[in-house]
Amino acid sequence: MEKNLNDIFQAKIDREEKIEPKDWMPDAYRKTLIRQISQHAHSEIVGMLPEGNWITRAPTLRRKVALMAKVQDEAGHGLYLYSACETLGIDRDTLFEQLHSGKAKYSSIFNYPTLSWADIGSIGWLVDGAAIMNQVPLCRCSYGPYARAMVRVCKEESFHQRQGFEILLNLSKGSDEQKAMLQESVNRWWWPAMMMFGPSDADSPNTQQSMQWKIKRFTNDELRQKFVDICYEQAKILNVTLPDPDIKWNEERGHYDFGEINWDEFWQVVKGNGPCNKERIAARKTAWEEGAWVREAAVAHANKRAARKTKKVA
């Protein structure tokens, strides 16, 4: 029986039919989705912190509102994704606990610090650029609620990268100090952004299963290559150098070759040893714990109000 259901399920996916919350699905599919969607949601929420750092220091009122709107969008994206995850039978509070206890992961990129205003631009250009590359294929993911959430996310995300690029473009046309600020920032963000696509295909055990389930559409290395090809051209517009001496056009492959990623750094940050891992989790935990009495009060008040209503009706 189980085998049969599995076959029907896979056949449905092969026909590009979407899976909806109440449909039968293998346990492993459900678990993979919960892991991936919640990881994605956590990344949005934790990702608000490094950028939020600069809301209070944005250099103009126009930049200030744009950045606020962007960080707020990320809260929205987290919310859409938590909602998608909740359709799989796990509630948001549980997901938060997993984040706070360190059980759940989020994108390592957000464990790097934002040290200058240019970092807000670099995050938009490189980090959002890499994220978009990961996210666009997810709009066709086999799980309906996730795919629909991602359509919304991608639609809103489109201004984010432009916002970042515009910041950098302004710096590139500015004073020598501003140009230096730009280059220094790109130097710091390039490699962590490259790491956002995850381990290379050879070291990515879940990829094959996820591709078969059409949760994932491209491998990590395919997406990373696409990213390098696009960024190299965009860097010219900004007049910055990508900090990789090995980048060079490969006529035969029709792609840019690039240098080796520092995988030791990658795994260290994943394990919690990045520059800001502890601060990020601490900030999330503090917000959640200090909000507990607020959430409680709202529930208590709603109960009182509902009780008064029933009493009136009676």
Partner: protein, 94 residues
């Protein structure tokens, strides 16, 4: 104390003349808060002019396992569709 906020399903009419369409869900303690949250979460870019909120637990959904008995019988009711009827071309619009 139980302080999980219940889930609400959000439906938005993007403009007059169109149906309210399901756009997603969120958490709120009562209908009023759900409405405000929906406004802040789902209409930040002028996506709507009217909002419905329904607490998720009040929605009854059909069982996908009964999908065949519910929906397949409609498959062969071709006479419900206009193309079932053969009419002369001269008639043009009907």
């Amino acid at each position: 104390m139980e302080n999980n906020w219940p889930i609400w399903e959000i439906f938005i009419r993007s403009k007059n003349g169109l149906n309210h369409k399901h756009v997603g869900s969120l958490h709120a303690t009562d209908a009023e808060m759900a409405m405000q949250n929906a406004r802040d979460v789902y209409t930040r870019r002028n996506e709507g002019i009217s909002i419905w909120v329904v607490e998720s637990k009040h929605i009854s959904a059909s069982d996908p396992d009964e999908g065949e008995s519910l929906f397949d019988p409609a498959n062969d009711k071709v006479y419900r569709h206009p193309t079932f009827y053969n009419l002369p071309d001269e008639l043009k619009h009907m």
